[in-house]
Symmetry: C2
Subunit: 207 residues, 2 copies
């Protein structure tokens, strides 16, 4: 495959991602994808065997990046609070860098997770969940997270809040990802209620 092919391929992938994220996969036509990169619909099929193959590649690529980033930036040796912060930060930064793929993943996974073509995507998604739950369980075992709330419930609340943040951010906000990470950790770990008795621990160091 020549470099030109690679360029064109990823051009198509990017254009499709943007359309899918904006209008939904079902409502986006192959013709529209072609138009937005300046070729005819038929030519798309020179690079991808089907429309669904584009969706699949977007989702798989997103999940691969996410898992690689978790492994690099949120290793198990970190203290639970620091590791959870790292997991949150990686998730938000990845959503920042690949907002369209993130959106497509969230919109589509439920519809496709049981299809045999998506076996690999499902395995990658399961690994993401495993890392989240391990982080939470380790924190409970260390006594820094509350044992009276189910790990799965906490995981889902936090994950959903993070996922959906891509729908209300990027509107030209001055609100940075770093601020979002801080607010996220502040709310989910320390709560929105004003504390009667101040905690003795200093705030988490900036990174």
């Amino acid at each position: 495959m020549t470099p030109k092919d690679t360029d064109r391929r990823s051009e198509i992938l990017d254009a499709a991602a943007e359309l899918f994220a904006h209008k939904g996969v079902a409502s986006t036509t192959v013709r529209e994808i072609g138009e937005s990169v300046g070729i005819y619909a038929g030519a798309i099929y020179h690079y991808f065997p089907s429309k669904d193959a584009i969706v699949r590649e977007l989702i798989t690529g997103y999940l691969e990046t996410l898992n690689a980033e978790y492994a690099a930036k949120a290793p198990r040796r970190l203290a639970p609070r620091a590791r959870l912060r790292a997991v949150v930060e990686v998730s938000l930064r990845t959503a920042d860098e690949k907002p369209h793929a993130t959106q497509v993943y969230q919109d589509q996974l439920r519809n496709v997770r049981d299809l045999p073509e998506y076996r690999r995507a499902k395995a990658l998604a399961d690994e993401v969940q495993r890392i989240w739950l391990e982080t939470i369980e380790d924190g409970k075992a260390a006594g820094v997270f509350r044992a009276d709330i189910s790990s799965k419930v906490f995981h889902r609340f936090l994950r959903d809040a993070i996922w959906l943040s891509i729908k209300w951010r990027h509107s030209g906000d001055p609100y940075t990802t770093e601020e979002l990470v801080q607010d996220c950790i502040a709310i989910f770990l320390d709560g929105f209620a004003v504390r009667r008795a101040r905690r003795t621990r200093p705030p988490a160091p900036p990174r």
Copy 2:
């Protein structure tokens, strides 16, 4: 309109809601809606002028119910913490009672909020948001909620966590709505971290 008409109409509405929620609006055909109530596609158009009119009625009905319940169960005279709890509880119970309409609303609102046919739905959605923000701002003014976190950010996190809970619940869980409300309030107000210094206030009274 005879009672039989009314029955048939809401039968169609319910069947459509279930299909829309499960497969997405775009991927659900009018034929399928007809099949699931035992009539032909053409007959649907005797009750609704278009497929979109069904979607619109579902969304508007959901938002009307939600606003009415807020007014009844979460009046402004409640203390901020109690009112926030009531808003959360009403939101979760309404999602429980109309899971399909809730899902359709969440899936569709972004796509349709600027369409003139959805002016009324948008106004109702704006009122929902106004109540949430008022509750949060009142709590800040009373000194029971943290002033260092943006009300909008907190609102979005909490709202998204609640909304998405319909996607992972109702799987025959023994986990009740009441437990979910409690966990939700516990996490979002008091945080998931173990507290070094115990709060002097007793736990919120059950209702």
